[in-house]
Amino acid sequence: MALINYASREINCKIVYYGTGLGGKTTNLEYIFKQLAPGIRGEMISLATETERTLFFDFLPLDLGSVQGFKTKFSLYTVPGQVEYNASRKLILNGVDGIVFVADSQKEKWEENIESLRNMEENLAEYGLTLDSVPYVLQYNKRDLPNVNTYEELEGVLNPRNVPSFEAVAVEGSGVFATLKAVSKAVLNRLS
């Protein structure tokens, strides 16, 4: 749920990057962190294992400027994608305002993507939410790899609601800001 502070004229929103393990969620945040000036973003915090797999979550606060006198602040979170960390994923979805589902485009990840999306819907339901009530966008990551499903194949299975979707190579930054922009816009639209 967005926090609208009339005293300090701020709007705070929580955006969660969800998806399979090793799909590129943390890479999205790392790229955003590297590209934005320190005045716009805070420090990125990663609660990761020794092998740099996300253990609990990554967190990156962004200050995206003013809109009609309200400062807009976004807190970006990632979830741990590994199947066994579902309790953590569920916790991080608490109070979510917008979601980026990062799908791994590789053919061998086809089933994992579907399962992760299903898992996300299950976890949202725990908070009385559905994908019809929470703004979300899709990102098809790793488009530079050779063995990937086509955009149309991914759309057909992962995007029945026809929400905005983006092809990305997060490690190079391609598609990262387009995705962030789309989800931010969808979240702010919901407040109007």
Partner: protein, 159 residues
């Protein structure tokens, strides 16, 4: 006051003034460095004291994550939740309290002050704080943003 109408959490000037006042008095009375209230999703609602010394947004996200994760531990023990949590550092420590609304009050204090004192001082104001938050839930859940007040998104200008 705070208002969770229409799925948003709204902080009004008069509401936050009362909460800030309560937290400010807590900091003064207890000798704590800072006191913060954060919403259960990790958003900071209020911070009083030496807040410039901390990255309060990150602190709120991490404290909330830490506090919420203990719920899983509690359930393994047959408890619904743990209402208090204490983290002890070499020079400063932090005590966390679950409010009735499941929001979290966190008090950061130097180790020159005993945890018992912090706990005692918080218990003294906890009813007031809970009442202030509860007043929000009992208030008429008006739409947090009326159309005339809604900040029309101009996200294209933000990047």
């Amino acid at each position: 006051m705070l208002n969770r109408g229409a799925g948003h959490l709204v902080i009004t000037e008069e509401g936050i003034r009362a909460i800030n006042n309560t937290l400010g008095n807590l900091v003064l009375d207890s000798g704590a460095k800072a006191a913060l209230i954060m919403e259960k999703s990790g958003q900071m609602i209020s911070a009083q004291g030496e807040t410039n010394a901390f990255d309060t947004m990150s602190l709120s996200a991490l404290i909330t994550g830490s506090f919420n994760s203990t719920k899983a531990i509690a359930s393994l023990l047959g408890e619904s939740e743990f209402k208090r949590m204490f983290q002890q550092g070499a020079n400063q420590s932090i005590f966390m309290f679950a409010l009735d609304s499941h929001d979290i009050l966190a008090v950061v204090f130097p180790n020159a002050i005993t945890v018992g004192k912090i706990k005692y001082k918080v218990e003294q104001i906890l009813d007031t704080l809970n009442a202030q938050v509860q007043a929000m839930y009992n208030s008429a859940p008006a739409a947090p943003l009326r159309a005339s007040q809604a900040p029309a998104p101009k996200i294209n200008d933000l990047f």
